[in-house]
Symmetry: C2
Subunit: 168 residues, 2 copies
């Protein structure tokens, strides 16, 4: 397979992958393109490669920057902004985990804390099932939260090493 074709496939399937994870196709595609580009690209480069509009490109680059996955690079003597993606995949994964934890897991745990305190007689099976369900989700969620905290701080080698030990 030629590089051009391989690149296309990578970008397109990274995009499809993204949509299964609540990330929009274009954002994932821009990320993929930057991941396999040896040098930083401009907004125009990206527009051209992916054949998308200026506004769309701009919006999604900004979103990638918000997620901490892409950085803006200013080359001395150049007017244009360049963009480059973090290439260390472990860092990328940690960054994504960190953001999703903050945006999704933490608010969910807060809500569950509130919901657990529902009024009503625990002998009523509706109340009982509700509280039990909420509590058990909360319990697992809290554990996940702690685990992810450790992961976010960990070096890849340390983390993988420990996982391997665990499975022996």
């Amino acid at each position: 397979m030629k590089l051009t074709e391989a690149k296309q496939q990578f970008i397109s399937s990274w995009g499809a992958f993204g949509t299964h994870w609540g990330i929009n196709r274009t954002m994932a595609q821009i990320h993929a393109l930057l991941l396999v580009s040896p040098d930083p690209l401009t907004q125009d480069d990206i527009m051209q490669e992916l054949d998308i509009s200026r506004g769309n490109t701009n919006m999604n680059i900004r979103e990638l920057i918000n997620w901490g996955l892409v950085e803006r690079i200013l080359l001395p003597g150049e007017r244009k902004e360049y963009f480059s993606a973090e290439k260390d995949i472990w860092k990328v994964v940690k960054q994504i985990v960190k953001e999703r934890k903050k945006r999704e897991l933490e608010p969910m745990l807060q809500l569950l804390d509130k919901l657990e305190e529902v009024e009503g007689d625990k002998r009523d099976k509706h109340v009982k099932t509700f509280v039990e369900t909420v509590s058990s989700i909360k319990k697992l969620g809290k554990q996940a939260d702690k685990t992810l905290d450790v992961m976010i701080k960990a070096e890849e080698s340390w983390f993988v090493g420990n996982l391997i030990k665990m499975f022996k």
Copy 2:
């Protein structure tokens, strides 16, 4: 907070949560409703509680059954089908992990295997960056795949116990 309100909030936020994970709102809401219902519900019960159409209800129940999160229950002497969700959250998580691994991670790893073999001179920085990116994603993906396999087979107590040890 009253049970009715708490239930509403739980269902609605579980639905919103789902949409961040590529699951449609209604499917997640039906799941949430069944999770907090002490007894199995019929299609009509679900339609009524969530105020959605028959077709929609049917489609999403079937999808939940495909995911292995809900089971069909036939009560003796009853014509109607009843539905019930697995209440053990650890089992639910394992089931979701299992399905997503099969549907998303495994195909991605297969693709990366192919893309890694791209033709071209490794001294060309475009080729080099492409191969390096693909390889490092593949490496991490394979590790994740193994870890998830262990998790899928594990008992909650064993798994959590080991995680705690790891963080000491």
